[in-house]
C-alpha cells in the first residue's frame, strides 16, 4: 500500500515515552490493530516508519506526524484510525490518517504553547519582563555541540512569542518557533533565561506542540 501519514497526539503520561520506544510502541499497536508495517530489507529489518520531527522526552504534542507503509494492499483507512486508537497506550491518540501530498522538508514553523512555573516569585510583572527579554535583537547562548561548546543565537528562530499571567504562580506562553533548519528545542527558551536573565528564569517549564506550518505559515499536513 502507498505511503500514509498519521497525525497523532502524545500527551499525559505518554510524553515520557522516548522516540525509540515510540517506534516499538507504534509497531505493536499496528499489529494489535490487525495490520502490519512494512519492514526494511536487510539483516536487521526495521519497520519503515518515520516521524517528521522527533519529539524530546517530556514535551507534549497534539500534532505529531508519522509516515508509514503497510504490508497489506487493501486497507480501510477510516477504520484503521479507530482500530489503532483502541490499542494505543494511554496518551497517544490518532487524529487522522491520510495519503500525504507534501514532503516533510516543507515543514518550517511550529506553534507551541508552554507554561513557566515560578515557585516563590510574583508573576505580576513577569510577563512584561519576559516579553521584553524575547524582543531583544539577539539572544546568544552557549550550546553543547558535537565538538564541545558553540554559540547560538536563538532569537531568529523565534517568530513570535507572547506571555500571559496565570493563577498559581505560572506564566503561559504561546510562540511560533523554527521547526527545522535550524531546529529550536523549546527547552532553549528557559535555558536562555537562565543564562542571560536568571531573575525571570522559571523554576520549571513545560511545552506542548500545537501546529506545524510551512514557510508561508500555512498549516502543514
Amino acid at each position: 500500500m502507498n505511503k500514509l501519514r498519521m497525525r497523532f497526539s502524545k500527551t499525559g503520561r505518554a510524553i515520557y515515552i522516548s522516540h525509540l520506544d515510540l517506534m516499538a510502541t507504534m509497531q505493536r499497536a499496528f499489529s494489535r490493530a490487525g495490520n502490519r508495517l512494512k519492514y526494511s530489507e536487510g539483516f536487521n529489518p526495521r519497520p519503515q516508519i518515520s516521524i517528521a520531527l522527533p519529539l524530546s522526552v517530556g514535551c507534549a504534542s497534539v500534532c505529531e506526524l508519522m509516515d508509514f507503509q503497510l504490508l497489506e494492499e487493501q486497507v480501510d483507512i477510516t477504520s484503521l484510525k479507530d482500530r489503532l486508537n483502541a490499542t494505543m497506550p494511554e496518551g497517544i491518540e490518532v487524529q487522522e490518517i491520510y495519503e500525504p501530498t507534501r514532503k516533510n522538508a516543507e515543514l518550517k514553523w511550529l506553534a507551541i504553547e508552554g507554561v513557566f512555573e515560578y515557585d516563590d516569585r510574583s508573576v505580576d510583572i513577569m510577563c512584561n519582563q519576559l516579553a521584553a527579554f524575547f524582543s531583544r535583537e539577539s539572544i546568544v547562548i552557549e550550546k553543547k555541540t558535537k565538538r564541545g561548546f558553540g554559540e547560538v543565537d536563538v532569537r531568529p528562530s523565534i517568530r513570535e512569542i507572547s506571555f500571559f499571567a496565570r493563577a498559581g504562580g505560572a506564566v503561559a506562553l504561546a510562540a511560533t518557533i523554527s521547526a527545522q533548519n535550524p531546529t529550536l528545542n523549546p527547552d532553549l527558551l528557559p535555558a536562555s533565561l537562565r543564562a542571560l536573565c536568571p531573575e525571570i528564569a522559571p523554576d520549571f517549564a513545560k511545552f506542548t506542540r500545537i501546529e506545524p506550518y510551512d514557510a508561508e505559515m500555512k498549516v502543514f499536513r
Binding site: 499525559g12 503520561r13 520506544d21 522526552v57 497506550p89 520549571f204
Partner: protein
C-alpha cells in the same frame, strides 16, 4: 500527575518506567473497589515487567471485582535520590497514589538478594518495616515467590507468606481480607484465620527456640496454626486462568516478548537445583492450550517474539507438535520463536535448525560439573559424548561460539574435576577443528563459573559452601589449567554467593542483619552497582552474628532447619536419600523412567505426575 513527579521525570534516565499508562494496564474506580492492593516487585521495572508470575497474578488478582491491584517497582538510583529530595513516597503506577493509602502490599520475591529492596520499598511507602510495629489490620504486608520457601530472614517484616503458586491462594486470601476489613477484625484475628488457607504461612504464629550453639531447637505453632504449611499448586494448568492480555510496556524491558509456559516442575532431579524440587510435581499444559494462548497473547500484545518457558524445554513431550502449531502462525508473520533451556541432544539441534531467525552464533550448555563422576554425583545427566556430538552438529551447521557453564564448590568436587573443565574446553575446540565448515571465522569457547550455593528444599540443603578464598583458589586452578587461546574464562565473584548462601538458609534472626544493611544504605543488592560485601560484613558484625556460620557451615542431619515448617511436597527422606546417592556417585532416574516416590505426587490427589 503529581507536581513533584512532573519536575523529577525530565531529569532521570528512562522516565517512562515510572509513569504507568501502558497498554493493557488495569484502571478501576477507586471508590468502587473495597481493597486496594499494591503488587510490589523489589527490583527495577525492566526486571519486574519481564516476570511471568507478576504478569499472571496481576490479572488474576484484578479479576476479583472488589480488588484493584496496581504495580510498584524499585526506582533506580537516580530516581531514588530525586524522590528522596522531593520527599515523595513510593507510588503505584496505575493511579499514582502513594503506597501508604493501600490496604495490602504484596511482594513478589524471587531471589534473596532482593530482601533489602523490600525493606527499602516499605520505607519509601512510609509503612513501618516490622510486622510488630504495624498494629492495625491494614495495611497487610505479605510476600510470595520462590525465595519464600525459606522466608525466615524476612519473617519479622512480613505479616504472612504465600507459599507456592498464587493463582487461587491469593484470591482466597484477598476474599478473607475483604471480610476482615468490612467486619472490622483485628489484625491478630485476620492472621489467625488466614493461617487456615492452604499455603499461607503466618510467621508470627510460630515460636522459634534456639540451642546454645545457635541452631534451631524447636518450631512451635501457636493459636491453631498448622504444624506444616503445605505449598499450594494449581493442579490443572490447562484449566487455570491464564491472562492472554498482559501489560505491554511502553519502554524496553528485559523480556519484550510473549512467554509460553510449557509446564511447571521438572522431571530431572539435579541435586543442586532448588527449582527442580520446589516446583514439583510436574504438570504440563496441552499443546492445544499453549498454541491457543500463545496466538491470543501475540494478537493482544503485538509482540514479534515468542519464547517457550520451562525449566527444561526439551522435556516437553509435545515439543514438535507445539512448535509446528506455533510456527504455522508465526512464520508468515515473521514472528520469532525462541527455545531457551534446550538440552544438548540431537533432537534439540534439529529443532533449532528449523526455527526462523536463530542467529547461528551462541550455543549454551549448563554442564555444571567438570567430570562424569561429579556430574553423576549431582545427577546432572549430561555426558561428554552427548555434548561433543551436539557441538559437532552445531559447528558443521555454522555455529561458531559455545558457552559452557559450571559451578565450583559442588559437594565432592576435587581438583581433578576442575582440571576436567579445561579438558572439556580443549575437546570442544578439537571438535570445532574437525567439524567446522568455515574455519576462517574462528571459534569462541567461553567457560563461566559461579560459586555453588546450597539451597533449602534441595538434596544439598545440608551441604557446606566453600569459602570465597577457596573459590578463588579453584578459579586460579582452572585459569592456569586452560591453555588454548580460543578459550575465554569468566568467573562470577563469590561475594554475592556467600551472602545468598547465608540468607537462603538463614533463620529469622537475620532480620536484624537485613535491617542493618538497609539502614547503612543497602538496596538493589542484586546489582553489582549497589552491592557492597563490606556493608553486609559490618551488618553481621554489628548484630553479633557470624556470616560464615550461616553461609558455609554444614548442617547436621539431626538439626531442626529454620524452614522445617514449610512443606514443598518433596519428602525429607527423599532429599536425604538423594544426598547419599551423591556421595556414592549414583545417578537417579528421571521421573519419566521411574518415579522415585519423592512425595510431590500427593498434591495431585490421586492423579499421576506429568499426565
Amino acid at each position: 500527575m503529581d507536581k513533584r513527579l512532573e519536575r523529577i521525570l525530565p531529569r532521570v534516565q528512562k522516565p517512562a518506567r515510572y509513569t504507568g499508562g501502558e497498554y493493557n494496564q488495569i484502571i478501576k474506580n477507586k471508590d468502587e473497589v473495597e481493597l486496594r492492593l499494591a503488587f510490589c516487585f523489589p527490583d527495577t521495572y525492566e526486571i519486574g515487567m519481564s516476570n511471568l508470575g507478576m504478569k499472571i497474578l496481576y490479572k488474576t488478582m484484578n479479576s476479583l471485582p472488589f480488588v484493584w491491584c496496581e504495580r510498584a517497582f524499585a526506582p533506580w538510583g537516580d530516581m531514588y535520590e530525586e524522590m528522596k529530595k522531593a520527599d515523595m513516597p513510593l507510588y503505584a503506577l496505575e493511579s499514582g497514589d502513594s503506597l501508604d493509602k493501600f490496604d495490602a502490599l504484596a511482594f513478589s520475591i524471587g531471589y534473596e538478594m532482593a530482601y533489602t529492596t523490600v525493606l527499602d520499598m516499605l520505607a519509601m511507602a512510609g509503612v513501618p518495616l516490622r510486622s510488630a510495629d504495624r498494629h492495625d489490620l491494614l495495611p497487610i504486608v505479605f510476600a510470595g515467590g520462590s525465595a519464600c520457601v525459606n522466608g525466615e530472614p524476612m519473617a519479622p517484616f512480613m505479616d504472612l507468606f504465600v507459599i507456592g503458586e498464587g493463582e487461587e491462594m491469593n484470591n482466597e486470601l484477598l476474599t478473607l481480607l475483604r471480610r476482615a476489613k468490612a467486619e472490622g477484625w483485628s489484625k491478630k484475628q485476620f492472621l489467625r484465620e488466614a493461617a487456615h488457607i492452604g499455603g499461607v504461612y503466618v510467621p508470627g504464629l510460630y515460636e522459634i527456640d534456639y540451642n546454645p550453639d545457635g541452631t534451631v531447637k524447636s518450631i512451635t505453632p501457636t493459636d491453631g496454626a498448622p504444624e506444616k504449611v503445605q505449598k499450594r499448586i494449581v493442579e490443572d494448568l490447562d484449566a487455570a486462568p491464564y491472562p492472554t492480555d498482559p501489560i505491554v510496556p511502553s519502554t524496553e524491558v528485559v523480556q519484550d516478548k510473549v512467554d509460553i509456559e510449557l509446564f511447571r516442575g521438572c522431571v530431572r532431579g539435579c541435586r543442586f537445583c532448588q527449582a527442580g524440587h520446589i516446583y514439583r510435581p510436574i504438570r504440563a499444559k496441552k499443546p492445544e492450550t499453549l498454541i491457543r494462548q500463545g496466538i491470543e497473547t501475540l494478537q493482544n500484545t503485538g509482540y514479534e517474539d515468542v519464547t517457550l518457558l520451562s525449566l527444561s524445554t526439551s522435556d516437553y513431550r509435545h515439543l514438535t507438535a507445539l512448535c509446528d502449531g506455533l510456527l504455522e502462525y508465526c512464520e508468515p508473520r515473521s514472528i520469532g520463536l525462541a527455545l531457551p533451556s534446550l538440552r544438548a541432544d540431537n533432537f534439540s539441534m534439529e529443532l533449532m535448525e528449523r526455527l526462523q531467525r536463530v542467529r547461528k552464533t551462541g550455543l549454551t550448555f549448563a554442564v555444571e560439573g567438570g567430570s562424569q563422576r561429579l556430574r553423576d554425583a549431582i545427577n546432572k545427566n549430561v555426558t561428554e559424548e552427548e555434548l561433543l556430538h551436539t557441538c559437532a552438529i552445531a559447528f558443521a551447521g555454522g555455529w561458531n561460539s559455545v558457552k559452557l557453564y559450571y559451578m565450583l564448590g559442588l559437594p565432592t568436587e576435587t581438583d581433578d574435576d576442575i582440571r576436567g573443565i579445561a579438558d572439556m574446553a580443549d575437546q570442544v575446540l578439537h571438535c570445532w577443528r574437525e567439524n567446522a565448515k568455515n574455519k576462517n571465522r574462528g571459534v569462541r569457547i567461553t567457560i563461566s563459573t559461579s560459586c555453588f550455593i546450597p539451597k533449602p528444599h534441595s538434596p544439598f540443603q545440608w551441604e557446606a559452601q566453600i569459602s570465597k578464598e577457596e573459590y578463588l583458589r579453584r578459579v586460579n586452578l582452572l585459569r592456569t589449567s586452560i591453555t588454548a587461546r580460543n578459550v575465554t574464562y569468566n568467573w562470577h565473584d563469590a561475594e554475592t554467593s556467600v551472602i545468598e548462601s547465608a540468607l537462603s538458609r538463614g533463620d529469622r534472626r537475620l532480620g536484624d542483619v537485613l535491617e542493618a544493611v538497609w539502614r547503612a544504605g543497602g538496596r538493589l543488592d542484586a546489582w553489582s552497582d549497589y552491592f557492597s560485601f563490606e556493608r553486609w560484613e559490618n551488618a553481621f558484625a554489628s548484630c553479633g552474628l557470624d556470616l560464615a556460620w550461616y553461609a558455609s557451615r554444614e548442617r547436621g542431619l539431626d538439626e531442626v532447619l529454620p524452614w522445617d515448617m514449610i512443606d514443598v511436597g518433596v519428602r525429607r527422606a527423599h532429599l536425604v536419600r538423594e544426598r547419599e546417592r551423591c556421595y556414592a556417585s549414583e545417578l537417579s532416574p528421571d521421573c519419566r523412567k521411574q518415579c522415585s516416590a519423592c512425595g510431590a505426587a500427593k498434591m495431585l490427589h490421586g492423579r499421576k505426575c506429568d499426565e
